[in-house]
Symmetry: C2
Subunit: 489 residues, 2 copies
């Protein structure tokens, strides 16, 4: 893209002044509409070192109320950040509905740089491009406005700017070693940036190359692009988003009704013996995982009172608390609801070598959110694919993913509800909501079946835990966890 | 404490078994009461390397629902963490009301270790002890139950445990270089730990030394201490907390009524000229701050419509967006309200070299929370002192603190409210709440006067911005910011 790009004519001084003042006024007014229509906006500034990313951001934000935006500066990932999937530190920063996040460099810089430095080969580069495409599409599909600017300056211009900054000790820190390397290898870098932009130039999140040789002119281009895109976004809010074809490799999985719950029982003696042995085995595996820095994600979904809690406990009892965290997922809090629905899961991922156990998960999107109308039909239909992408991302990062559906029948649930109700110490475990959900059992069953069919991917299959006898389900879960982890250590 | 401690007699096997099972059952029941009474509990495990901190935690948490606790493992601070006050990473992890946080080592380890390694001298050590005392007291005063365990093992025992772990490649990572050093310098370390415990053995957050030579016995001691302390905490909830004497060095400051708002005006020409010069100057200082890694905290409080937003904007226009963040403070969200009221400010501190501008602040505790009854009288009365301590902590960390009160008179506010109401583009800026607050002007004035008198410390004094003419206030603010920063760079 960059290599065959032609800059537009820079307007005369008077025209520039007039247009700038118009754009500023418009942006000032539009920020209120953004707020009102609850549109989250991500503005990504990429480009050459010293091309004026920071200074352009600082001019743009003058027109926006400080309560409505955040500027995030991305430098090289820290050691801590390197222990997460590479998109983690970007996903973390996505704005709430009605607010802006301005990023001073982002995934273009990281991907191109690490590729230029030889840290990623062609295959890894291609996989990252795929991740970025999915990431940006997931954002725009879920109502985010994603604006991507590339600040373009010529080699000579960059050289001069760098030299000027290097001369003064208070500005020297602004020129990194990579900025200097970039200038020395300008042509090679340009080619890499250009390819990256072509690779990620989606219609829903296109690139805008900004002629950044003149600062005022650069500001004007950015401002006008921002303003016109916000206007479009405001008009497009009711725009429907296509449901992508589910192209992930799916495995067959039985319907809930076909799951045999009979005779899946264990007596106390067998249970105790197996439990002890399996927990010792898992404890040992946990040490290995830690040493080899493999992340593990275990997810639990299932009927109310199916025995998720007790099942999770039998897993965690075997683990060192320094290396795992249980993530109980309740209904989202306001700051979570205001963001992409996967945000609260991205931000709860384990770091490499750790185990995260999710007590309920992102599958809430296609169950409770679907049935209670917390999201639109379009939203939950799109979610199967989004979730498959999300789990693929985790898999490619190197995570072990183990997904459990804890299954009981309707009578068993009733018996357990009644027992909880009648036992003062367990009453806290049962709420009116549980009874209301129970009334919707049949609707849930339809949703669960669809979910299982559509997300039972080869790389992250579901495991059914028959839990009419909780002991049986616990032992089965432990065996599966051990088996899956063993494949990796 | 440690040097003159005598272990209790370890009970016989049968007795141990019985007592353990009782304690486990009690903890299981008590967790529900903790939840119900909304008590936040911090359980700190400190002690020798290989003394079994992690494994004891893992036994204790078996009795608690995973939704109600979090285990946090603290290792050496990262480079990122070192750019914040040393308590930052601990304050971040305090639990919500009704939940537990278990810490696998914490501030004892960090302080003693850095002192043993010669990273802190006696003076710095003393200042940290003071910080810890205030930190723990602030937590307990605000309803936190803080339990501190020290897991004690003898030199010989530690040596054997370390050797055993080092022999196996899957467990080798559990023994750090420091653990080994600790064993080699056991006596010296013991003295240091002992002194630290005496120094921080407050009645509201006392130390419990656990004889950790035998694992079951260690578990029993921890469990019984936990259970008995939770019972006490449940009985003590209505306990009143003494208001400490305000011993901070205070400067005199006029009452709001005595602030002369007349003739504090600037004409357009003077304003524009000064603004430009001052912003250029501030921009240069910002570079120096960044290079010297000095953190700056600028806070704004003032009447509604006093002109805080516009004032902040004139500051930020001069700054590089990579080095500052505006923190707009609205009413707390649920996850914030569930924690110590300073938590949401601790977690928003700038890192060294950065500027944080707070648009409203922790002073909400002694203004809106006081007047609207969002906290008890005891709570807000205690807050003056807590806030002085908090700001002292920031000052000692090396921060520049600049506190503004933006002052207007009642008539000016009315005029501005009316203008907002009549201007369609500004209507969003005015709400019913603003009108309600206006009715309480006199009560607020009393609260503000008390606040100014009680928190106008030498190290973090208030600055009054007379803002009937907003231009005047903006220029004055810029001058003060420049003056204060100049003292540091």
């Amino acid at each position: 893209m960059l290599t065959n790009w032609n800059p537009a004519r820079m307007p005369e001084k008077d025209e520039m002044k007039l247009r700038l003042s118009t754009a500023r006024k418009q942006l000032y007014d539009l920020q209120m509409k953004i707020k009102e229509h609850k549109i989250p906006v991500i503005v990504l500034f990429e480009g050459w070192g010293t091309s004026g990313k920071g200074s352009t951001i600082s001019k743009v934000i003058r027109n926006i109320d400080p309560r409505f935006f955040k500027v995030v500066t991305m430098s090289e990932p820290t050691d801590e950040e390197l222990r997460y999937p590479f998109l983690y530190r970007y996903f973390k920063e996505i704005p709430e509905a009605g607010k802006f996040t301005f990023l001073d460099s982002g995934w273009l810089e990281q991907i191109c740089r690490e590729h230029l430095e030889g840290k990623t080969d062609e295959k890894e580069y291609a996989s990252r491009i795929e991740s970025v495409r999915n990431f940006e599409r997931q954002l725009t599909d879920n109502g985010y406005l994603v604006l991507k600017f590339f600040m373009q300056i010529e080699k000579k211009e960059q050289k001069e700017r760098e030299q000027k900054l290097l001369e003064n000790k208070d500005t020297r820190w602004r020129v990194s070693l990579f900025d200097q390397w970039e200038n020395e290898h300008y042509k090679k870098c340009k080619k890499t940036f250009s390819k990256y932009m072509s690779d990620t130039n989606a219609s829903s999140a296109p690139w805008y190359i900004i002629d950044a040789g003149d600062k005022k002119w650069a500001e004007l281009q950015v401002m006008e692009t921002l303003v016109s895109n916000i206007k479009v976004a405001l008009q497009n809010q009711a725009h429907s988003v296509p449901i992508l074809q589910n192209v992930f490799p799916l495995e067959p999985i039985p319907c809930l009704a076909d799951i045999d719950l009979q005779d899946k029982i264990l007596n106390d003696e067998e249970y105790k013996k197996e439990l002890k042995q399996l927990q010792i085995e898992l404890g040992k595996l946990h040490n290995k995982l830690y040493r080899k820095r493999i992340p593990v994600i275990i997810t639990y979904e299932g009927w109310d009172a199916a025995g998720k809690g007790g099942n999770i406990k039998r897993i965690t009892e075997a683990l060192d608390p320094r290396g795992y965290e249980v993530q109980p997922i309740a209904s989202p809090e306001p700051h979570e609801k205001a963001r992409h629905y996967l945000w609260r899961f991205w931000t709860r991922l384990p770091k490499s070598g750790h185990v995260a156990i999710f007590d309920r998960t992102w599958y809430g999107r296609v169950m409770v959110e679907r049935l209670e109308g917390f999201c639109s039909e379009n939203d939950w239909q799109r979610a199967y694919n989004e979730i498959n992408e999300f789990e693929k991302e985790l898999k490619d990062w190197g995570a072990v993913i183990i997904k459990f559906w804890v299954q009981i029948d309707k009578d068993t649930q009733l018996a357990r509800f009644q027992e909880r109700q009648n036992n003062p110490e367990k009453q806290w475990k049962i709420t009116d909501e549980d009874w209301r959900n129970r009334e919707k059992w049949d609707e849930y069953e339809v949703a669960v079946n669809e979910m299982l069919q559509k997300t039972n991917t080869e790389y992250a299959p579901w495991h059914i835990l028959e839990s009419v006898d909780k002991k049986y389900a616990r032992i089965k879960a432990l065996k599966i966890v051990i088996e899956e982890i063993t494949k990796y250590v």
